[in-house]
């Protein structure tokens, strides 16, 4: 019955990062727009006294946090979370720290694999931030002051010189070029195990 529609709408609004229009909601639930509107009103009433609020914005309907919890939310999220960095995160952070500003396609080329989730985590933890766009329109990243503090560095010049561990110091070329070459060499063999697929990831990221 209608209780089910109310529940489904709550799930969809909960999941969506963007506001949802009545037409979209009607499409997804297979119901008439008038039914959806009625159900949205019921949902709004049902949410009274709960921790989330149904809002109507320009783009449609969305769930937002209840302002009464703002202090607790600030306490929870304002403190930087510093769990150990996973290898993929450490690699991505190292690339940004040493090469900044650097674009996401470049990070993916150097790592030889997609860097999306590691980049998102580093952004969320405030270790890196956006720094404009490249000539080709890709978002650029740089490290943040929080990054320096968490690593106990005064400036970026205090980053350890990678030359001291360099596996092939005889290789000529800038750090950036060498990283890109090594990344492409690694990606060149990464695709073979999955059968005759073409090396698409590389081509796309350029």
């Amino acid at each position: 019955m209608n209780g089910e529609l109310v529940r489904t709408l709550e799930t969809l609004l909960f999941l969506s990062p963007e506001p949802l229009g009545v037409a979209e909601l009607a499409d997804a639930t297979g119901r008439a727009e008038a039914d959806v509107l009625t159900a949205l009103q019921q949902l709004e009433a049902a949410l009274a006294g709960r921790g989330v609020i149904l809002r109507e914005l320009a783009g449609g309907y969305t769930l937002t946090s209840h302002p009464a919890a703002e202090d607790a939310a600030r306490r929870l999220f304002a403190r930087p979370r510093t769990p150990p960095l996973a290898p993929a995160q450490a690699e991505t952070l190292a690339i940004v720290a040493y090469l900044q500003p650097v674009s996401r396609p470049e990070i993916a080329r150097i790592r030889g694999v997609n860097a999306e989730s590691a980049t998102a985590t580093l952004l969320e933890r405030g270790l890196i931030e956006e720094a404009g766009r490249s000539r080709f329109g890709a978002v650029l990243y740089r490290s943040t002051p929080l990054f320096l503090k968490l690593f106990g560095l005064n400036t970026l010049d205090d980053l350890p010189d990678p030359a001291q561990w360099d596996p092939s110091p005889e290789e000529a070329g800038e750090l950036r070029d060498r990283l890109l070459r090594a990344g492409e060499a690694r990606a060149g063999r990464a695709h073979v195990a999955d059968g005759p697929a073409d090396p698409a990831p590389l081509a796309e990221s350029r």
Partner: protein, 254 residues
């Protein structure tokens, strides 16, 4: 239908049989990951689906699949496993049993994980970012030096490392062709009997595999025959004369 066109749909490969062979020979697909039983099933399915039993095709299939099985079992029995061959039958059985049970246990555990995965199929998580006001972690509450900067230098160095061995193999692989190996084997056959090990002395894995295929070809053409006294033992190769008689008989040598 030619056996080359047999359509396969395996975990690691989907496409015609001859492409699979090519990729295996070029080491672009690891033979160890190919489910050969799946290839056999695909062929049986093809027969069942009304394909006529063409003896020529069936023979070709048997020869190819046997060669692949042989190659795969050689690869699976790496050097450490040769210890197994030296064990008494009783000990070897115990060792194999222990391995089978362990394998079985984690295969079942994998099935259990797939059930858990299926049970969670309809569960989704919210992926919206934090509201901007909450997003910025405040600098003054941040602890100093919780992470070690050498972690970054170390990560970067790992990314500089080139994978030299693999890229070399790719350059070498295409050099071993069946035609070239055929010529090599025919050259040896002209001098009489010889061992397979002799024919592939100092060769890499790909060349060994391609040589085996060349040998199968000679066998099919009736130019040579081969014998192997025990599994993984030496393979003795001998020329066949025009009447199809082998010179492998005692005393016969060129």
């Amino acid at each position: 239908m030619a056996i080359a066109d047999l359509e396969l749909d395996l975990d690691v490969f989907a496409g015609p049989f001859d492409l699979l062979l090519t990729l295996v020979l070029r080491e672009e697909i690891d033979l160890l990951e190919v489910d050969l039983a799946g290839v056999v099933l695909a062929y049986l399915d093809h027969l069942e689906a009304g394909g006529e039993l063409d003896l020529e095709v069936a023979t070709e299939f048997l020869v190819l699949i046997a060669a692949l099985l042989e190659l795969k079992s050689r690869l699976m029995l790496g050097s450490e496993d040769n210890e197994l061959a030296e064990l008494e039958p009783g000990e070897a059985a115990e060792e194999l049993l222990a391995r089978m049970l362990e394998n079985r246990r984690y295969r079942a555990a994998g099935t259990h994980l797939k059930e858990l995965e299926a049970a969670e199929r309809g569960v989704r998580f919210r992926s919206a970012p934090l509201p901007p006001a909450l997003r910025r972690a405040s600098l003054e509450h941040a602890p100093t030096g919780v992470y070690d900067p050498t972690l970054l230098g170390g990560s970067l160095v790992g990314l500089l490392r080139l994978p030299p061995v693999v890229s070399l193999r790719h350059l070498v692989a295409p050099r071993a062709s069946v035609a070239e190996r055929l010529a090599h084997l025919r050259g040896l056959l002209r001098r009489g009997d010889f061992g397979f090990d002799e024919a592939v002395a100092g060769a890499d894995r790909v060349t060994v595999a391609v040589t085996l295929f060349a040998l199968l070809e000679l066998y099919k053409q009736g130019e040579a025959t081969w014998t192997q006294k025990q599994p993984f033992g030496e393979i003795a190769i001998a020329p066949l004369d025009s009447a199809g008689r082998s010179s492998l008989r005692r005393g016969a040598s060129a």
